[in-house]
Symmetry: C2
Subunit: 335 residues, 2 copies
């Protein structure tokens, strides 16, 4: 008899993981059909990047194993108590990528443990919908993506292609437009803007000429995206160029959500169907004085009066854990 | 007595170099106050990249020395016949960069040889103006830049900051917009376009989903810019998305030239002053059916009736050699 089958149902747990580009977070939660509020997080651990494209396969696997064991240790449960694991991982769009990561997890857990690998946007959606896969999540952090599910399980996404492929509503997109505006003001192609002083001061550069060297010294997208708060400050102070950049980003993000809503028919045949729009990422939540997330929602409800914003109260790793619970319960019902 | 001073004036030569991002070209020409037509190129040699940012300082120096010695060998002149060297080099914007390269040349030639290092755009301008630094050159190849000189020697440039800093009229910019259009058509954010079939076929990809992997597999800008002919073909075939991308590029390039013209006052006080616009680079010259260069000129002459297009008949290395002659003759006159 397998050790796992001896485990008391009350002790059964699930693991939810958020494998982002800079860190990996794992939470351990009890496996319950109805979770109390607040959600009982039994253990939580953080580790470094687990993206195999960034750190290589061996390190990625080790990081995943380590962060799960730490979360379990903190929860005081044995590994045999784990009934399901759900990992939301950035950049895992291809079935091939997901299959590879599933195989790593398969080496760690016995075969009766249910394993799920999802795009990190799906875990983010679940963090706002409490594990229910319905509606659309809009993420705008360094990158941007909209990812949605219809009630009958169809899924669709838009954007998420990175800067070369036009994610202009992302933090990277906003900051790159601001950099461009500074260069254009400097060489006479565009109007003067407060962005020049703000960005040069923030980067400790003495002239716009130095911006080229700074920009290409390090190709990290996140390093560029870090400048978004400068753009917001200038917009709040009334700078027209900064306001245009943010308004363009709002329009772009709204178009991204609309593409998903249309393809899935989330608004119903009459266009008034109710569905959540889960807002995630620094660009959408961080700036109260120029609230990009709220403006995107304002734009969307004009077209879809049944759309309502949800700002998650729990982190994506918890969303992944909720997905693990729900996927497992569904599978059990089918069996 | 220095060996160089023995050299007969009739035998005196100059070297012109075009140090691009993929190759380095050197030509050897006679030092004459008035050059005959066609220009007498005594020797010509090609070598690999001499950009120290790409290949490192030692290799860059060796490449420069080698290509100059080969051109001299072909010309049948001795090194002592060289009176001046002008090198147009991409990315040498900072005086610090120019100083470093000057020092390399200084190690190769005796102190009486005049040495000049210029931005490659200046050599390109000279290739159209036959060595006279007046007017504006517009380059659009992988990147884009406008660089101009007024009659009284003031200089100014616009764009040239690379893709993150908004060189949207460049080959990279055009192709990146086309890629974005394919992704937008695929995920529902944008209209369908012929670009999808054209680009996927050219890249041997079976689906737009695969474009993300292809794009980020190699960060080379030139690899993206290679797709410009596909965009032109689709535009010629009537595709609206492709036509909009090219029209936007035309507008962007015209704004880039205008910024330089305005800052230098090239059009004179009455706005009708005559000045050349030298057109250089694959984007501006390669496509007769949808002539981006001609459309930029059409746009410019509406504002500046005295502007006239020049399509260089000689290569930038010859432009650099002409500059070497002119700089040297000017210095001699001053002395």
């Amino acid at each position: 008899m397998n050790q796992n089958d001896e485990c008391d149902e009350e002790e059964a747990v699930v693991l939810g993981l958020d494998g982002g580009t800079t860190s990996t977070i794992c939470v351990c939660m009890p496996l319950l059909p109805n979770l109390p509020d607040p959600l009982p997080v039994l253990g939580r651990a953080i580790a470094g990047c687990s993206n195999h494209n960034s750190v290589g396969e061996t390190l990625a696997r080790n990081t995943l194993e380590q962060v799960m064991m730490e979360a379990l240790l903190e929860s005081g449960r044995k590994q045999s108590a784990v009934k399901a694991v759900c990992l939301g991982v950035s950049g895992a769009n291809h079935p091939k990528d997901q299959e590879r990561i599933l195989n790593w997890l398969r080496d760690i857990f016995p075969s009766n443990v249910k394993l799920y690998v999802q795009n990190d946007a799906v875990a983010a959606l679940a963090s706002g919908s409490m594990g229910k896969l319905h509606g659309c999540v809009l993420i705008s952090g360094t990158g941007s993506i909209a990812y949605g599910f219809s009630k009958d399980g169809k899924e669709a996404h838009a954007a998420g292609g990175g800067p070369i492929l036009g994610d202009w509503g992302s933090g990277y997109g906003i900051a790159a437009q601001a950099f461009t505006a500074v260069v254009r003001a400097h060489d006479g192609r565009g109007p003067q803007t407060m962005l020049t002083d703000s960005i040069l001061k923030y980067l400790s550069l003495s002239s716009s000429d130095e911006l080229i060297g700074w920009t290409y010294a390090d190709p990290s997208w996140a390093r560029i995206a870090d400048l978004v708060p400068q753009v917001v400050s200038c917009a709040v102070a009334g700078d027209e160029v900064a306001n245009k950049i943010l308004n363009d980003a709002v329009a772009e993000l709204a178009v991204t959500v609309k593409a998903v809503v249309q393809r899935l028919g989330l608004c119903g045949e009459d266009g008034n169907g109710q569905f959540p729009i889960v807002l995630v990422g620094g660009v959408l939540v961080a700036n109260k004085n120029w609230d990009i997330g709220q403006k995107v929602v304002d734009c969307l409800v004009k077209t879809y009066p049944g759309a309502f914003p949800v700002r998650p109260k729990v982190e994506p790793a918890v969303g992944a854990a909720l997905l693990a619970c729900n996927f497992l319960i569904k599978e059990k019902r089918r069996e």
